[in-house]
C-alpha cells in the first residue's frame, strides 16, 4: 500500500515524458489503434461469413490460432524483422490478438439468429444486405459487442509489451521498475493497467446498454 502512495505521490511521475498522463495516453493510443484495426478486419469478415455461411473454416482457424499464439514471441519476431523505428511491431501482435474474439463472436452472433426470423425477413421482401443489416446485426449485437469488449480488455492488458521494445505506455513502469528493482513503479504500473482495463470493460458494458435494442436484451418490464 505504501508503494502505491509513494508511486502516485512522487512528483517525478507527474511531469516529463514519463508522467502518468503521458504514459496513459500512449497506452490508450496503441490500444485504440489496435482495436479499431482488429474491428475493421474482424467485424466485416464475421458478418460476411456468418451471413453467407461460406468460409467458416477461417473462423475455426482464427479461434485456434488465438489460443496458440504467443503475443510476446510474435512481438520479438516482428521487431527482429521490422526494427523498432515504428509502432507496427507493437500493433501487429495486438491486432492479431484482438481479431479472433471479434471475428468469432460476430460470426456466432449472426449464425445464431433464429432461422425462422431470417426466413421471415426474406419472406417480407428484404434483400440479402437488408436482412443482414436491418435484422441480423441488431439481433446479434450483444455478441458483437461482447467480442469487442473481450478484445479491448485483452489488448489493454497486453499493450504493456510495448515497453519491451522501448516504446511507451504503462508497461514502461513495470519493465523499467523491474530493471531497476523499483517496486513502487512495478506495483503502480500494474494497478494503472488493471484500472484501465476495468474502465474499458465498464465503458463497453455501458455502450452495450445504449446500443442494443431493449427488445433484444429484454430489459424492459412488461408494462
Amino acid at each position: 500500500m505504501n508503494w502505491l502512495i509513494d508511486f502516485f505521490g512522487n512528483p517525478d511521475n507527474w511531469s516529463g515524458p514519463g508522467a502518468i498522463p503521458v504514459r496513459l495516453l500512449e497506452h490508450l493510443g496503441f490500444s485504440a489503434a489496435a482495436l479499431v484495426l482488429a474491428a475493421l478486419i474482424g467485424i466485416p469478415l464475421g458478418l460476411l461469413i456468418g451471413h453467407t455461411g461460406k468460409g467458416s473454416v477461417i473462423v475455426v482457424v482464427s479461434a485456434n490460432l488465438a489460443r496458440a499464439l504467443p503475443t510476446l514471441g510474435l512481438l520479438v519476431l516482428i521487431v527482429l524483422l521490422l526494427g523498432t523505428a515504428s509502432i507496427w511491431p507493437v500493433l501487429i501482435p495486438l491486432v492479431a490478438l484482438a481479431v479472433p474474439p471479434i471475428l468469432v463472436n460476430t460470426f456466432e452472433g449472426i449464425r445464431g439468429v433464429d432461422p425462422e426470423l431470417r426466413d421471415a425477413a426474406y419472406g417480407m421482401g428484404l434483400r440479402g444486405p437488408q436482412v443482414l443489416f436491418k435484422v441480423l446485426v441488431p439481433v446479434a449485437l450483444p455478441l458483437v459487442m461482447l467480442g469487442l469488449r473481450l478484445a479491448a480488455v485483452q489488448v489493454v492488458a497486453t499493450a504493456a509489451v510495448a515497453a519491451y521494445v522501448g516504446l511507451g505506455g504503462l508497461g514502461r513502469y513495470i519493465i523499467d521498475g523491474l530493471a531497476t528493482q523499483d517496486y513502487e513503479s512495478v506495483v503502480g504500473g500494474s494497478v494503472l493497467i488493471v484500472g484501465f482495463a476495468l474502465a474499458v470493460q465498464g465503458l463497453f458494458t455501458l455502450a452495450q446498454k445504449v446500443m442494443v435494442s431493449p427488445g433484444v436484451s429484454q430489459r424492459l418490464r412488461v408494462r
Binding site: 425462422e116 421471415a120 426474406y122 419472406g123 417480407m124 437488408q130 441488431p138 427488445g215 433484444v216 429484454q218
Partner: protein, 348 residues
C-alpha cells in the same frame, strides 16, 4: 388468381416433395392446403412467393409466371404469415407491422398510421404498439403477424399454420377474426394447416394432399364431407362426417311453427301433449309453459342446420326454438320439421 400448372418440387437430395400439382386458388377466396405432416404443404406454399423455386411446371399469379418476377419485389406484394409469427425482436410492434411499407419507401408517418390502423383491425389494443414482441403473448404475436402481412394491402396472403402454436381457445378466436377480416377485405388467401377441422371451417375450397405431394382431392368443404374421393380422404376427414356436413346446410330450410308460442299474459290452457314456448312482452323466450325444463335456441337462417339440431337435442321437448338476429322468438322447429330438413339434406 393463383394457378399451379403441373408443378413439381424435387429437393437437391432427390426427394420429391410436391408431385405434378395442378390447382387454382380463386381470387377473393380462402384456399386451404391440408394434409398430414411432411406431405408438402409448406413447400407448395413457399413456391408461390419463391422462398422455394419449383423444379418443373409453372405458378401463375393473375396470369404472370412468378419466375419472371424478382423475388424481393414479388414478396413485397404478397403477405406472408408463419407459425411462430417471426416478428423482429429489436423493433417495436408498430414498426414490425410497418416493415413492408418502410421497404416500399412510404413516409414514416404514413407507414405508422397504417400500422396503427391495422393493429386495431386485427383486434389489438393500440397500447401494444409501443411494446416489443417479447412482451406479447403467442396469440397477440400471431395477430401482429397477420397485421404485418396486411400492412401494404397486398392482394394475396400466404399463411403457413399460423394458428397451430396457440392454445385451442385463442385459436378459435383467431380463426373467427380471420373470417371476419376476410369478409371485409376479400383477399386471395392460401392457408396451410394439418388440422382438417380448421380447413373445413376456413376454406372456401380445400386441397387435401397426401404424402409425396400428390393432390388427393380439391373441393368445397361440403363436397369433401359428402363425397370424399377415396379412402385416404375419408380417413383423413375422420368421424362424424354426416353431422359435420350439416354445418354447411342453412337452417332456413326448416319449416317453423308459429302456433306453438304463447305470450305470458295470454296463457291459454295447454293441450296435454304439445309443448308451448312462453314468450315475453319483448319477444324473448322465457320457457316451456307449465314445464320447468331446459330449451335450446338457434338463429334462424343464420345458423346452420347442425346448430338447429343441437338446439333441439338440448331441449327436453326435442324442439328447437328459432330466434331472429336480435334474439326474438320467430317460431319453433318441431321434430317433424327437423326430420324433413335432415332427409332433404341427405338427398343433397
Amino acid at each position: 388468381m393463383i394457378t399451379f400448372d403441373s408443378v413439381t418440387k424435387r429437393y437437391p437430395d432427390g426427394f420429391v416433395a410436391v408431385d405434378d400439382l395442378s390447382l387454382e386458388a380463386e381470387t377473393g377466396q380462402i384456399t386451404v392446403l391440408v394434409g398430414p405432416s411432411g406431405c408438402g404443404k409448406t413447400t407448395t406454399l413457399r413456391m408461390i412467393n419463391r422462398m422455394i423455386d419449383a423444379t418443373e411446371g409453372q405458378i401463375l399469379l393473375d396470369g404472370s409466371d412468378v419466375r419472371q418476377i424478382d423475388p424481393p419485389t414479388l414478396r413485397r406484394g404478397i403477405g406472408y404469415v408463419i407459425q411462430q409469427a417471426g416478428l423482429f425482436p429489436h423493433r417495436k410492434i408498430v414498426d414490425n407491422v410497418a416493415t413492408v411499407p418502410y421497404l416500399l419507401g412510404w413516409e414514416k408517418k404514413k407507414a405508422r398510421d397504417r400500422a396503427m390502423e391495422l393493429l386495431e383491425r386485427v383486434g389489438l389494443d393500440p397500447k401494444m404498439a409501443q411494446r416489443y414482441p417479447f412482451q406479447l403473448s403467442g396469440g397477440q404475436q400471431q395477430r401482429v403477424g397477420v397485421a404485418r402481412a396486411l400492412a401494404a394491402d397486398p392482394p394475396v396472403l400466404l399463411m403457413d399454420e399460423p394458428f397451430s402454436a396457440v392454445d385451442p381457445i385463442v385459436r378459435t378466436s383467431l380463426q373467427e377474426e380471420l373470417l371476419r377480416l376476410q369478409a371485409e377485405l376479400n383477399k386471395t388467401i392460401v392457408f396451410v394447416t394439418h388440422d382438417i377441422d380448421e380447413a373445413i371451417k376456413l376454406g372456401d375450397k380445400v386441397a387435401v394432399l397426401r404424402v409425396g405431394g400428390k393432390l388427393a382431392q380439391f373441393a368445397a368443404p361440403k363436397t369433401l364431407l359428402s363425397e370424399p374421393a377415396d379412402d385416404f380422404v375419408r380417413e383423413f376427414l375422420g368421424r362424424d362426417r354426416g353431422i359435420r356436413r350439416l354445418s354447411f346446410v342453412s337452417s332456413s330450410y326448416l319449416k317453423l311453427r308459429t302456433d306453438l308460442t304463447v305470450t305470458s299474459s295470454s296463457a291459454a290452457g295447454p293441450s296435454d301433449d304439445a309443448w308451448l314456448m312462453v314468450v315475453s312482452e319483448d319477444g324473448k323466450p322465457v320457457g316451456w309453459l307449465d314445464r320447468d325444463e331446459p330449451f335450446g335456441t338457434y338463429v334462424h337462417g343464420k345458423d346452420s342446420l347442425r346448430a338447429a339440431l343441437d338446439a333441439a337435442l338440448l331441449s327436453s321437448s326435442g324442439q328447437a326454438v328459432a330466434l331472429d338476429e336480435s334474439g326474438r322468438v320467430v317460431g319453433v322447429a318441431t321434430r317433424k320439421a327437423l326430420d324433413e330438413a335432415l332427409s332433404e339434406a341427405a338427398d343433397g
